[in-house]
Amino acid sequence: MPGDWTDYIGQIIFILFFLMLFTGMNQKIQVKLWAYDIRNKLSIIKRYADDSRSRIEEILNKLGVREPSGIVNKFMNFFMIEPVDIEPTDIIRRLDHLIRSRERIFKDSLARTLPELGKYERSLLESSLEIASVLNYVYKSIRHYLLLGEKYNNWVLLMQLQFMMPETMKLVETYYKSLDSFIKGTPIGDSVGPLVAYKIMEKGKILSKNVIEDTVVAEVWLDNRRVYVIKAEGPGSNVGKPGKVLADLVEKLSGNVDLVVTIDAALKLEGEELGEIAEGVGAAIGDPGPEKIAIERATSRHNIQLSAIVIKMGLPEALHAMKKELYEAVERTVDYLLNLIKNATKEGSTIIIAGIGNSIGVAQ
């Protein structure tokens, strides 16, 4: 029937649709919706960053620090400038120097601020501060790109940011929840490597044990073989220097090593099972470069077989308190490793086993 109200509504919708299409209004509405969603998620990230900061301040307060916010601020804004990579000569040495300098300054500053604090407690505090620092950095970066996108009306930037938000939120939640483990000192998923190393130490007869650069080297007599077990010194939050220590050990033994095995946690692909074990060749270590290259150089120089065993897990499992499924995977890995040693080497051989990862909650 002409003049019916539905006709009018239809006409208005049609006109509005065309107006929006030709004036770009639809795009503007879309951008506003994206910005609104990003802002909502940003407020959640801010809550996580603030909460982690206040938890650390509370700990520092309990330890007798008068103005904890100043210290937290200093550590949260601490940065490291990447070495020049357009001139790759000696980049590993420069990167190693910067990483070591960063660690030393971080540790020394904390030791000066809290001189009475033990090594174990200090390591937990260091890692907690690093987590708070990551959360703060993510918050500031997202805020920067949101404001930049709005300032210059850059809808492509806002669109990219909006599409990245689900993954970013997952990462932020993972880091935020991992703070619990680092404050309490419980083993995390990434501790599977050091835990395998500890179990191997327990299986054999320990002949000697030394600590070099926050890294433990134990000489163990196992199945009539000389096994050197390397792991970061625990039970504090520490990854040690397993690459450098392993390389030095190979040189000390004049290359007379029959097998080197590195064991580490590896990020699983979606669909893969948690705690799946895989064997391969190469150095299983996830550092920025210096540690890994030290292992590769030492083993290739003396033509030593370099094997790797990885235990698969997602990023949340790697950073959160160790799940029982991962502990069961550790036990399976120990059996697997003992078999590998028996099959790949003869009696009287010398073997190096390096359990890579954070030794939090795992002593030796």
């Binding site: 019916d4 539905t6 006709d7 509504i9 239809g10 309490k184 000192g185 419980t186 083993p187 835990l195 500890y198 625990g234 039970p235 959160h320 308190a321 160790m322 799940k323 029982k324 991962l326 502990y327 550790v330 909650g361 795992v362 002593a363 030796q364």
Partner: protein, 91 residues
């Protein structure tokens, strides 16, 4: 009169359909996979007879710490593992 000859009815059906789809999309975006709460447990093993005991985690526990005595032989017990397990919810 057929369904397609009545524009009012057609419009109402379209509006209702779009509303239902939007509502479903919104609910799906809010829905998160349910994660069961977890508790941390400490696994102790007797250094002599190998008796195993699982207890609640206490702050300060770490792997290799000697803690408590075996209920069977009285020898010291050592922490073998610290892990989290899912807490089963009562149905």
């Amino acid at each position: 009169m057929t369904f397609f000859n009545d524009p009012t009815l057609l419009l109402i059906v379209i509006i209702l359909g779009v509303t239902v789809i939007l509502l479903q999309l919104y609910i799906e975006s809010r829905r998160k996979p349910r994660e069961l709460p977890r508790i941390t447990r400490t696994l102790l093993k007797c250094t002599k007879c190998g008796n195993v005991l699982e207890i609640d985690y206490e702050e300060g526990d770490f792997i290799s710490l000697v803690k408590g005595k075996c209920s069977k032989c009285g020898a010291p017990m050592k922490i073998q593992a610290i892990y989290t397990i899912e807490v089963k919810q009562p149905k």
